[in-house]
Symmetry: C3
Subunit: 216 residues, 3 copies
């Protein structure tokens, strides 16, 4: 992915496209969860929507910003269509698990730096910047899992939130302590994507808490 940083309009357009891809992929994971739970088409749409825009909405509410998808209906439309389409195409997409994992990693990386970026724009301290990166990247999936009555995936082994955290940290630290602000977002997104990608490729996971009973 080559970014022509001098052509600001092209970059913005490219980021918008990336954003929509992230929304679409997240909505697809919501729809696939609805398929697993045997929901009706409305359930597919709602799980698609909350997964795609839940994290960013939580971020905006906490930071006191206008909710990002109110002004631009495309976010809601893409999420509704992508989630609802799984009602008819779910069996096709479940065989694409591997492809989806990589697209989802791209969406996560993008959302992590977008979330961190909004906190930076609000002059928030570094800890809030990191938190907002994680919330934006992981919040939607957490709401999806709660609505589908699952213990959120990101709490269990998955190297996912930690990748979002690393991406937001890279971005935040570069902005706070260096002059490379212009490249910071790209670097942060790359770090998040690479960590998540390594976890997918080598099937890495975090250790979980062992109760005494389990240790025996």
């Amino acid at each position: 992915m080559t970014l022509n940083l001098t052509a600001a309009i092209d970059l913005k357009y490219l980021l918008y496209i990336c954003d929509m891809i992230g929304v679409g992929v997240f909505a697809i994971t919501g729809g696939l969860m609805a398929a697993r739970k045997g929901m009706d088409i409305f359930g597919f749409m709602v799980l698609g929507i909350v997964t795609a825009i839940g994290g960013g909405t939580t971020r905006d509410l906490i930071l006191g910003l206008p909710v990002f998808w109110i002004e631009d209906p495309n976010y809601l439309l893409v999420a509704t269509i992508a989630g609802g389409a799984m009602f008819f195409l779910g069996h096709v997409f479940s065989s694409l698990t591997r492809t989806l994992l990589w697209l989802d990693a791209a969406g996560m990386a993008l959302f992590a730096v977008a979330g961190a970026g909004w906190a930076i724009a609000k002059d928030a301290p570094l800890s809030i910047v990191l938190f907002m990166g994680v919330v934006t990247a992981c919040g939607g999936g957490m709401i999806r899992d709660v609505l589908a009555r699952e213990v959120p995936l990101v709490f269990q082994r998955e190297i996912y939130a930690i990748a979002a955290l690393a991406g937001a940290a890279t971005y935040g630290l570069l902005v706070f302590y260096t002059n490379f602000g212009a490249w910071a977002m790209t670097a942060g997104g790359a770090v998040a994507f690479i960590i998540r990608g390594l976890a997918i490729h080598f099937d890495l996971s975090l250790p979980v808490y062992q109760t005494k009973d389990m240790r025996k």
Copy 2:
């Protein structure tokens, strides 16, 4: 239900009464869920409150409006009393299921157009108007089901959200594309109520996603 549209004060008063009936009925469904789960009286009150005001609160937060029940304590009082009363009267009301279904349909229709109306007042695009109608009408019930550890009812077969969507769409389209704005709210509410009513009367439901295992 005859609405005297020339007497604005009477209409407003009537709408307020309808609003309170909606809040009360939604709170009762929250209380009945608490009864099914064997909760204490506080659980009845909380489930009553979240069911009655959860949808409208979500709408107000997303649209950046002041939360509707902060200024007028009656909403909270009605919801608390209606939900809490089920602790003592739950067994009576569970035999009134049919009546409650119809009252709930009226509450849903009213909340759908109220939600859409607030989005219209914020000059939101049509897709947001529809979404807000559905959120206001269905959000409270979804939060109730999540707190009671159920997969939200509206995700499964129930022709409920689709009725709210149709009502909000009727209202929104009339406002956006015609001069019949004054009647639009009534028409939208009627459409939502009639669709839901047909589903109740003829026991209609949406198809759900069939997994391959279930198809065999």
Copy 3:
């Protein structure tokens, strides 16, 4: 606990320390829940954070206030560290259940009056003041239980929310109807703590709804 009310700075400092103790204790209960569910360290941190700041965040969003922990990163840091530490120290703390119960009671009492206080500062009516006291004290624990897929503890027998309500009511009534505003917060906190303390010491609980099947 002796409060020197003439030394405003010392009092504020003391309250801040109390606040942080409340945040830390609530985060520990979140971490212990993560231990019970066998989560990874990220799950510990997130459950710690939502338990500690979830109630106050909900209050701030509903009242339209800036979220309290955005300006002061210490809240987030204390919650993250206290929750995450349970990943390594969980087995130690589970043997301290009794101590934790008492610390948690202190946190609840403090959060109840803090929540009520913010509503009073917004000139909210009494019913909203009470509600905000309960939301601030119990909201975090409810979100924790939902994320961990448990029916919220406060809905079942526990004399917890009722203690928060009594504390907020004492505070609110003293402010609204007497001249003892300066002492009202202390009195409210004491009432909440004492009621909860009696429930812990004498193992008291609320009756739950009995279904017909259970009565037989």
